[in-house]
């Protein structure tokens, strides 16, 4: 065929190997410095969560009361809390829970939000109406109050807190997903997907969702921080972690009375939260860019 002549022009680097999309995303991510910083921090955090017990100089849950409220020193690099526990060890120990809270809460809310949002957006009409009214109801509920209310119904414990927090955030994801789907749904490639015989699920999950991920990713990375912070608010009201388990948010809450005479008690968990949140956000932004083949070189 005569048409094949153009290959000569297009050929830039010989025959390419088959490369998986994940490899592409990865190679793109690697190029993004901010994202890599974020990812490195996340990896370190995960390592700490997994192997933290080898790093802890002291038992995080037992303290020597006589050594309470000590300023950072060589013995306790982050100082000690009101029970005389080593804050450094507690921060390391708390990593596990804080990460788990952030990640699972977002994962649950995200999954539910995506399902609700995409059904509402894709099918429209009555389904949309019912789903979005339900979302409105949850949304109209002040979120902290709703979380508290759910927790008092579900009972205590970190798992319940995670569920409560995720339920509260579902509507936000659902709204974002729905909105994006409404705008993507009319695209011709969606029509094309239908024309070649895709069923609704195929269209939603293969063709629409991948194209609405960027706002969702950005929201989700922010959501991780919200979840961590909201756990701390629940902890503040005695609904979060059961003591003596360390968790950053609760450490912050418990330490707030010592603001004047032992500010380090709240400083370090605050920094830990901030760094974690920052890392997820940097990584999220990078991931969004990497997932978009248009931004790839």
């Amino acid at each position: 065929m005569e048409l094949n002549r153009e290959e000569n022009v297009m050929l830039e680097g010989g025959v390419e190997k088959t490369s998986s999309p994940w490899r592409n995303i990865w190679s793109e991510l690697v190029k993004n410095k901010a994202a890599m910083v974020g990812l490195s921090i996340i990896v370190i955090l995960i390592l700490i969560a997994l192997f933290g017990k080898y790093l802890m100089p002291y038992d995080p849950n037992t303290g020597v009361l006589a050594e309470s409220l000590q300023k950072p020193s060589s013995a306790h690099i982050f100082g000690t809390d009101e029970q005389g526990r080593d804050i450094f060890s507690r921060i390391i120990d708390g990593t596990k829970i804080s990460l788990r809270v952030g990640i699972t809460a977002v994962a649950i809310a995200l999954t539910a939000g995506i399902i609700f949002g995409s059904f509402a957006g894709y099918y429209g009409g009555k389904i949309d109406m019912y789903i979005m009214r339900l979302m409105d109801i949850i949304l109209a509920f002040p979120s902290l109050l709703l979380a508290i209310a759910f927790m008092s119904a579900l009972g205590k414990g970190i798992d319940k807190a995670i569920i409560a927090i995720s339920i509260v955030t579902i509507p936000e994801y659902a709204r974002i997903v729905r909105g994006s789907i409404l705008s993507v749904k009319e695209n011709e490639y969606v029509q094309a997907a239908k024309a070649i015989g895709n069923n609704d699920m195929g269209i939603i999950f293969k063709h629409i969702l991948p194209n609405v991920m960027s706002p969702i990713i950005v929201r989700a990375t922010l959501g991780i921080s919200t979840a961590i912070l909201e756990t701390s608010a629940l902890g503040f009201l005695g609904l979060g972690i059961q003591p003596p388990q360390a968790e950053w948010g609760s450490m912050l809450g418990a330490g707030r009375g010592y603001f004047y005479n032992a500010p380090h008690i709240v400083l370090f968990p605050g920094i830990a939260i901030t760094i974690t949140v920052l890392a997820f956000n940097l990584f999220g932004d990078g991931l969004r860019d990497a997932l978009d083949p248009k931004l790839r070189k």
Binding site: I137, A140, F141, P142, S143, L145, A149, A153, T226, T274
Partner: protein, 334 residues
């Protein structure tokens, strides 16, 4: 337009019904027993049982809900178990404070958020941009009560610039007209009150608005970036307009449409999310009052507050939608 508003108000009904059912059920599976709360710690089991009968607490839940709903329809949400005063009165007396704070917070958040966002977008990928965005990220990563205490220490205790807590300096409360101190003091021409109320609201509003500031800044930045690339911005430049006009009039005006959505949502969550800020700054609002009520199992108050907050939330959303129509001539509600 009026029809649209009426329609939206009608849609309020199922939402409120849903909210009330949910809060009712949740509060009633709560373990604490209102009868024993009312009776206090010296009560005997017989007294408690008697009171449970009187209060209808032994009826099936749906009967109780129906009774509650009947009352609610007549504007009666019951009385607080703790203070005996009608819930509606208690909440309404605290509502202006919450709304005033939430509005102040959202105004501050909007001003800062939009400014940071616009500057970041205009100076995309410059150092200013990065600083702006890191600032925004810090805003979402700081716990409110933490930030609140830091603000108090810096601005009130160390620098003596602003008051520590409360709504106004004692003795300067303006005459009660709307319940909003800032407005009431202006209406009565009481400048000393106005100044005091203003200086009291700044710190809590900044603390409460920090999260929203960050969200608004990020949203503004991305929207502005998108809009600056639009054809009509090029058209505006081609007309010879100065850059300031192009950015602030042509671009920002368009960017405001999605930003308003975010602001609306944020305002909604600020109304209920002011709990910790209200606690830290002793702001006499509904949020901290409700949490106290939850902790004391005073659930007529919780139910009332949640329902009222839901009403306000829905109304705020309606206002946002109407604002859309004003900002975006393409949207017409009929």
């Amino acid at each position: 337009m009026v029809k649209y508003i009426i329609k939206r108000l009608i849609l309020l009904i199922p939402v409120l019904l849903g909210v009330s059912i949910m809060v009712f059920v949740v509060m009633h599976v709560f373990q604490a027993d209102p009868a024993s709360i009312i009776l206090g710690q010296h009560a005997t089991a017989e007294q408690i049982e008697k009171l449970r009968q009187e209060l209808g607490l032994n009826n099936p839940l749906y009967v109780q809900y129906w009774d509650f709903l009947k009352g609610a329809l007549q504007g009666d949400l019951g009385s607080s178990l703790i203070t005996k005063t009608p819930v509606v009165k208690e909440i309404l007396s605290r509502f202006p404070a919450t709304i005033e704070l939430a509005l102040a917070a959202i105004i501050i958040a909007s001003i800062f958020g939009i400014s940071i966002g616009v500057i970041s977008a205009v100076k995309q990928n410059s150092i200013v941009d990065y600083i702006g965005m890191v600032f925004a990220l810090l805003g979402v990563s700081m716990p409110i009560f933490w930030l609140g205490l830091i603000l108090i220490v810096i601005f009130a205790v160390q620098m003596h610039l602003l008051p520590v807590a409360g709504r106004i300096q004692i003795g300067l409360e303006p005459a009660h007209i709307t319940g909003f101190y800032l407005i009431d003091s202006l209406l009565t021409g009481n400048m000393a009150s106005f100044k005091s109320a203003l200086s009291h609201i700044i710190l809590p509003a900044v603390a409460l608005g920090s999260y929203s500031t960050a969200i608004i800044a990020r949203m503004t930045r991305s929207t502005m970036l998108e809009i600056i690339g639009q054809d009509y911005i090029r058209t505006a430049r081609a007309k010879g307009l100065v850059e300031k006009v192009v950015i602030l009039q042509h671009a920002l005006r368009n960017a405001l449409i999605p930003i308003i959505t975010v602001i609306g949502l944020q305002l909604g969550s600020l109304l209920g999310g002011a709990v910790l800020t209200e606690t830290v700054f002793s702001w006499p609002g509904v949020g901290s009052y409700t949490v106290e009520a939850i902790l004391k199992s005073d659930y007529p108050v919780v139910q009332g507050a949640v329902i009222l907050l839901a009403v306000v939330f829905v109304l705020v959303n309606l206002a946002v939608d109407l604002l859309y129509a004003y900002l975006d001539p393409r949207i017409k509600y009929s």
